[in-house]
């Protein structure tokens, strides 16, 4: 059954804006309006403060762990217009890189799939999206998509590394020809898909359905099926599930998951891409699952504040 395995008291001095565990689920990174990022070792239900990272000059909005093949790397973004990349070396966390190329609050950071190397997308209220690629020797290559979203970009999320039209034969033995893609959401109420072609980032698709600012987007992890799935949520309280079956990636269908009464701030996919966690201004977390016939249903309601879980009904699929 669903059970609380750990409750971490972060001792942040102000409200928390993001919490995320690393690849293996052994460490927890949190960030807060108190301008700090904290890292806890949460193995075996414990909580040991590993690092208290100070360096931002404003509230820190989001954190993101890089794939462990690159080492222990964490990125954070803040109101102070900076993105800081932190790295653990010999047990000590230090700044690895500080990116100051945005002119307004940086709202979202997301590492790309490890197949592309150490690459990150950042979305900012200045409307631009930056792509930072580590090229070795402390060097970062920076590409910037200006005016990606008018007014501001609120969220970015990478597509899993899959080969486009995966059913088409490719010369085997060569490195698969992955295409870098990500999705972004912004204050223009749009969800936009971006694709790298010949080293240049191009707008691939523009998905319209929301009637207010898009607050978060999440590209579902792939389990190897040719369908791509994206979730988006907005100030308008709506959550949409976008799917695309065609290998060229041109036709996206929107399905309304639910209309909530308050802003929806965050969507997150489970590792197999069949459960979506939705959270928003109502201080609640709900889990949604796609049934066999393609309908989405709420399977739980983790009501907050009480710190308790109201029944998560285990609609297990083992029954045949």
């Amino acid at each position: 059954m669903v059970s609380v395995i750990n409750t971490v008291d972060t001792s942040h001095e102000d409200m928390i804006h993001d919490a995320q565990m690393d690849y293996y689920g052994t460490r927890l990174a949190t960030c807060s309006s108190d301008r700090t990022v904290k890292i806890f070792d949460v193995r075996n239900g414990g909580q040991i403060l590993v690092a208290d990272l100070r360096g931002h000059e404003g509230p820190v909005w989001q954190v993101a762990w890089a794939h462990p093949m690159f080492g222990n790397i964490l990125a954070s973004c803040s109101y102070d217009r900076k993105v800081i990349i932190w790295k653990e070396e010999n047990g000590a966390w230090n700044k690895m890189y500080e990116y100051t190329g945005h002119e307004s609050s940086v709202n979202s950071v997301c590492w790309g799939p490890y197949e592309f190397g150490l690459i990150m997308a950042c979305g900012s209220s200045d409307g631009a999206i930056s792509l930072l690629t580590f090229t070795g020797d402390q060097q970062w290559d920076i590409k910037k998509i200006s005016n990606a979203h008018t007014i501001g970009c609120n969220a970015v999320s990478w597509a899993p590394a899959v080969v486009p039209g995966s059913l088409i034969d490719q010369p085997s033995g060569q490195k698969p020809n992955y295409v870098k893609r990500f999705v972004s959401g912004g204050c223009d109420n749009l969800v936009k898909l971006w694709k790298e072609e010949d080293g240049q980032w191009k707008e691939d698709q523009k998905l319209e359905a929301h009637s207010d600012w898009v607050r978060d987007v999440g590209w579902a992890p792939s389990i190897g099926l040719p369908t791509s799935t994206i979730a988006s949520c907005s100030q308008d309280g709506r959550v949409f599930i976008w799917t695309c079956d065609d290998p060229a990636g041109n036709t996206w269908n929107a399905k309304l998951l639910n209309k909530f009464n308050d802003v929806v701030w965050h969507v997150s996919w489970s590792i197999t891409g069949n459960i979506l966690a939705v959270s928003g201004g109502d201080n609640k977390v709900t889990l949604w699952k796609e049934s066999m016939d393609g309908q989405w249903a709420c399977i739980s309601d983790v009501s907050k504040g009480q710190g308790a879980v109201s029944t998560i009904t285990d609609t297990q699929q083992n029954e045949q």
Binding site: V2, T7, D14, D18, G91, P171, P221, I223, W265, V285
Partner: protein, 971 residues
């Protein structure tokens, strides 16, 4: 606290007034506040005196109230209430309605007294009529202007007694009261509703409109097609009115969701940024009016009424007025040419003001002041102004810091209290400042910090200021912030051990937070495009965890739950009143008035934060405000909730237990299926157990296909063959059960790796030599990275796919393996039709459609990723072995070998030329098939286990070549 250079000098709260609007009389003695039950007359000379009341009986709120602007009638005011206008007279401390004007059939939206005829009043209504009333004959309006559309605003022209303007949605109409049938001019001013309309005080033709479309536009109505100028805002503008002194404009924004209030003063000559923000009101500013200038005073006073139920009087002194006259010479020139007319008129004050009986002395003052201001700015455009301006705009609402600014002497005193320390710092600005001339910093008593620290701080401040003034930028604010951060970091170090419940094992030294580059303050009006921060969230992490955090239970939204959370960070601008202690909670009246409550604990924290939006319960648990030196990590009220990690793997279709217990043993498929079925039962996946039983049946030896296509239809063609399997795969795809999918695909490998798999595609035939043959196709690359005891790191490297479970080629799997020359569909020409038939048969006899091979590989790859997260790397390797395309090529160093048999160059473990294993162990002289180690220096090596044994005791090469392998090959 922070030195503010014009601040309100009067704040009075009328908690029960519930007044919707306000008006200041033409003498500036009193203001009327219109509540539903009473009208309150506030004596502006002594505003804190209890106001006089006039009771009224109406179920309607007062829409508009306005005093008669003529001195002779200064005791009269008009108040509209639904369809009626009541005229009150106020004499000797009591007032009463003496007349009512009735004629409108719908609610009255606005009213305005004529500037020229004390008896004339105009009213506008939703009923589409605009009436001009002569208050001496109240039976019916003297003039009725038919507008067809309902009007929201109506205003008399200040210079022409016949002209008036009205607004209808986004349009403005200019009327001549002598021609009531049609409007004299139409201006399609805005795309959305106009909230405010104001005629220029000195120019007959110019007016300003403020609208829902987030802009203020300036018009010459003679050119209705093009606005003269535009002020673009991020939010709708409620009112924009000219100031009585020249070139100024005051705006009130329509707060998004009623939370932000921005009362801003602008210079119409430079609309890029406001000249001043009047900060203090906690809620929407409902009305603002200028109080006529007092005799002999150069100050103006702005009277404001807000929904926070306070009346404030703000002093606008000549310095601030001067800022509305742009300080730049170019701008000034432009301004002069732009306002030629204004200039002219200001040269002839007599004419101008004889017509405007409104407080003539007021305008006289303003004009003399104007010209004076202008001269000032031309003459001394340099220093005092800029410093003055810096002082006025500087934002120094910092905890424990006070800055006293003295613009006349070009200096300021910064005093700060940190813990037990006090700092007093005198900053002197040179005449050329900020043009490459840095101020000086001097500590004065009673500064208590040690002298070494003084020196350090002084140096930091000098550096900071130099950096700024080199670019001719102001440096006061950065310097003060730098000072604070120095002091703060010093204090934190002081009480380091006591900072929190956790002791840092490797404390990260708190970096000195540099001054913010951000010039606007957090959560201010400029942050309108920054999304409102998340205060709760949930994320799936790792494989089976849900991490979530929420607002602490003690923090409540201070708005009714029906109102959505604001979208933008600028909603916090309501909290920028750090100086004022917030008013007591008005919990009783809150619901009716939809008041926005400030947080009761805000006073202990001067910086605005997201937490200000939420108010904290437990007011009763009043904590004693600790004296200075409080370690503020011990806030009594927790602003951060707990982060909860929840185990949700039972909701997932994949199981770690199965990942551990599943086996892939192609030598005995039956047994493998049974074991896996048992494992599936253990975790409660009965469905999967059945699938394993089916797999066992389908892989039975009895059903193995005959190599001869003519004997029988292969089992794969049977409905229980490929079709059944595809149905199963489809089912588990829908369930996202990548674990079952990958396992099924591995068992029924669609594409067995033929010996010569790469020529299959007809592409690079030579490639086969570059890659080892199938059963060891993924050589243990680690062999290269663990050379001679050197590197044993990279435990996290994803490429460490070590295994030694190469299948025995003697036992080919009847379902997968095929002979090397079985098929070559890369080659289109068949010499023999039988060959074609055989190939067809070969495709048909497979249970998995070979056309979908890559799809099946993707399942395995994705499952492999999950296994990796579970840290089951060997299981991952087991699965990936069955993928038809190799994992990503190794990106590190790859070692070539000279084949020990034929001496040709080879890669991997088998020589492409002679097909022998390439590398011989230096110790046992047997060819190495699995993992090997060798010395980079002499090239000798062998089985990893042998090498490890050897070098545990020796440091020379086992071949006796004399190489000190352990020493040589460390890199």
């Amino acid at each position: 606290m922070a030195a503010r250079w014009s601040s309100e000098n009067v704040v009075v709260e009328f908690r029960d007034a519930q007044a919707t609007t306000m008006s200041v009389d033409c003498l500036g003695y009193q203001a009327v506040l219109s509540g539903r039950r009473f009208l309150y007359i506030v004596n502006l000379e002594a505003p804190s005196e209890p106001p006089r009341k006039i009771s009224r009986q109406s179920k309607w709120d007062v829409g508009t109230v306005q005093w008669n602007p003529h001195k002779s009638e200064s005791h009269v005011f008009a108040a509209s209430s639904n369809q009626r206008v009541d005229l009150y007279s106020w004499r000797d401390g009591c007032g009463e309605v003496h007349t009512s004007l009735q004629g409108h059939t719908r609610v009255i939206s606005d009213l305005d007294w004529s500037w020229f005829e004390p008896e004339f009043l105009v009213t506008s209504s939703v009923d589409t009529y605009i009436y001009i009333w002569d208050t001496r004959d109240t039976r019916k309006p003297t003039v009725a202007l038919s507008a067809v559309a309902g009007a929201s605003q109506v205003k008399w022209n200040r210079k022409n007694q016949n002209l008036l303007a009205s607004s209808h949605d986004g349009d403005v109409r200019i009327w001549d009261k002598r021609k009531p049938n049609t409007a004299a001019e139409y201006v399609a001013a805005h795309l959305s509703k106009i909230h405010g309309l104001d005629w220029h005080p000195d120019n007959e033709f110019i007016l300003a409109t403020s609208s829902q479309d987030n802009s203020v536009r300036f018009w010459d109505y003679r050119q209705p097609r093009k606005y003269l100028n535009i002020l673009s805002c991020q939010v709708p503008v409620w009112k924009a009115r000219y100031t009585p002194f020249s070139n100024g404009l005051v705006t009130v924004m329509v707060p998004q969701l009623r939370r932000e209030n921005s009362l801003l003063l602008w210079s119409t000559l430079d609309l890029n940024s406001p000249v001043h923000a009047f900060v203090g009101h906690d809620d929407v500013v409902l009305e603002f009016q200028w109080r006529p200038q007092k005799e002999g005073s150069k100050d103006y006073q702005l009277v404001t009424w807000s929904r926070d139920q306070t009346l404030r009087i703000w002093k606008v002194d000549p310095q601030l007025q001067k800022l509305c006259v742009s300080d730049m010479v170019e701008d000034l020139m432009e301004g002069i040419s732009l306002n030629e007319e204004l200039e002219k008129s200001s040269q002839e004050p007599e004419i101008q003001h004889s017509v405007g009986p409104t407080a003539g002395n007021l305008q006289d003052q303003s004009i003399s002041l104007n010209s004076g201001g202008r001269q000032d700015s031309v003459v001394g455009s340099g220093l005092p102004q800029t410093l003055q301006q810096e002082f006025s705009l500087v934002n120094l609402q910092i905890r424990n810091v006070n800055v006293e600014m003295d613009a006349v002497n070009c200096s300021c005193v910064v005093s700060a209290h940190f813990g037990s320390h006090q700092v007093h710092l005198v900053v002197k600005f040179p005449a050329q400042y900020p043009n490459n001339a840095a101020p000086t910093f001097q500590f004065v008593s009673p500064t208590t910090i040690p002298s070494d620290m003084r020196i350090k701080i002084q140096k930091i401040l000098t550096d900071t200021s130099l950096q700024k003034v080199k670019r001719n930028q102001n440096c006061l604010e950065p310097c003060v912030r730098q000072l604070v951060s120095c002091l703060e970091s010093d204090m934190t170090q002081d009480d380091g051990p006591a900072t929190g419940p956790f002791v840092l094992s490797n404390p990260v030294t708190p970096a000195l937070p540099a001054f913010p580059r951000v010039t606007n303050t957090y959560g201010s009006y400029q942050d309108a495009n920054i999304p409102f921060p998340r205060t709760s969230g949930a994320r799936f992490c790792g494989t089976g965890c849900l991490v979530y955090f929420t607002r602490p239970i003690t923090m409540h939204r201070s708005v009714p739950p029906t109102e959505p959370t604001p979208r933008s960070l600028s909603a916090l601008s309501a909290y920028h009143s750090g100086v004022l202690t917030p008013m007591k909670m008005r919990s009783e009246s809150q619901s009716t008035l939809r008041l926005y409550s400030g947080s009761p604990t805000r006073s202990d924290k001067d910086t605005v934060s997201i937490s200000s939006f939420y108010y904290k319960e437990r007011k009763s648990r009043r904590f004693k405000t600790k004296r200075e030196g409080t370690d503020y990590s011990n806030r009594p009220i927790k602003l951060a909730g707990k982060v909860i990690i929840q185990e949700i793997s039972c909701l997932l279709p994949v199981h770690k237990a199965l990942g551990e217990s599943y086996i892939l043993n192609m030598n005995d498929i039956q047994e493998m299926c049974q074991k896996n079925a048992a494992a599936a039962l253990l975790v409660g996946r009965r469905d999967v157990a059945k699938v394993w039983a089916l797999a066992s049946a389908a892989t039975s030896q009895d059903l193995s296909p005959d190599p001869d296509p003519d004997t029988e239809t292969p089992w794969a063609r049977h409905p229980f063959g490929r079709h059944l399997l595809e149905t199963l795969l489809d089912h588990y795809s829908h369930m996202s059960d990548v674990q079952t999918l990958a396992m099924l695909c591995s068992v029924f490998r669609a594409q067995p790796p033929p010996q010569d798999s790469y020529s299959l595609y007809g592409h690079h035939p030579s490639r086969s030599s570059m890659f080892p043959p199938p059963h060891s196709r993924y050589p243990s690359y680690t062999s290269s990275s663990v050379t001679s005891g050197s590197c044993s790191s990279t435990s996290d490297s994803i490429n460490t796919t070590t295994w030694n479970t190469g299948r025995d080629p003697e036992h080919p799997n009847p379902w997968g393996e095929s002979s090397p020359d079985d098929y070559r569909y890369g080659n289109p020409c068949y010499t023999d039709p039988r060959e074609r038939e055989r190939e067809q048969h070969d495709m048909n006899k497979r249970l998995l459609d070979p056309a979908n091979t890559l799809q099946f590989d993707d399942f395995k790859k994705c499952y492999g990723e999950i296994l990796y997260r579970w840290r089951l790397r060997e299981k991952r390797a087991d699965v990936l072995k069955f993928a038809s395309c190799p994992p990503e090529p190794h990106k590190g160093i790859e070692f070539g070998v000279y084949c020990c048999n034929c001496r040709s160059q080879a890669r991997g473990t088998v020589c492409a030329v002679c097909k022998h294993l390439t590398f011989q162990c230096a110790i046992c002289h047997v060819a190495v098939r699995g993992s090997s180690n060798f010395c980079l220096s002499c090239g000798h090596g062998g089985h990893t286990s042998h090498m490890m044994d050897w070098f545990r005791r020796q440091d020379e090469c086992p071949t006796g070549c004399g190489c000190h392998c352990l020493l040589q090959s460390t890199f």
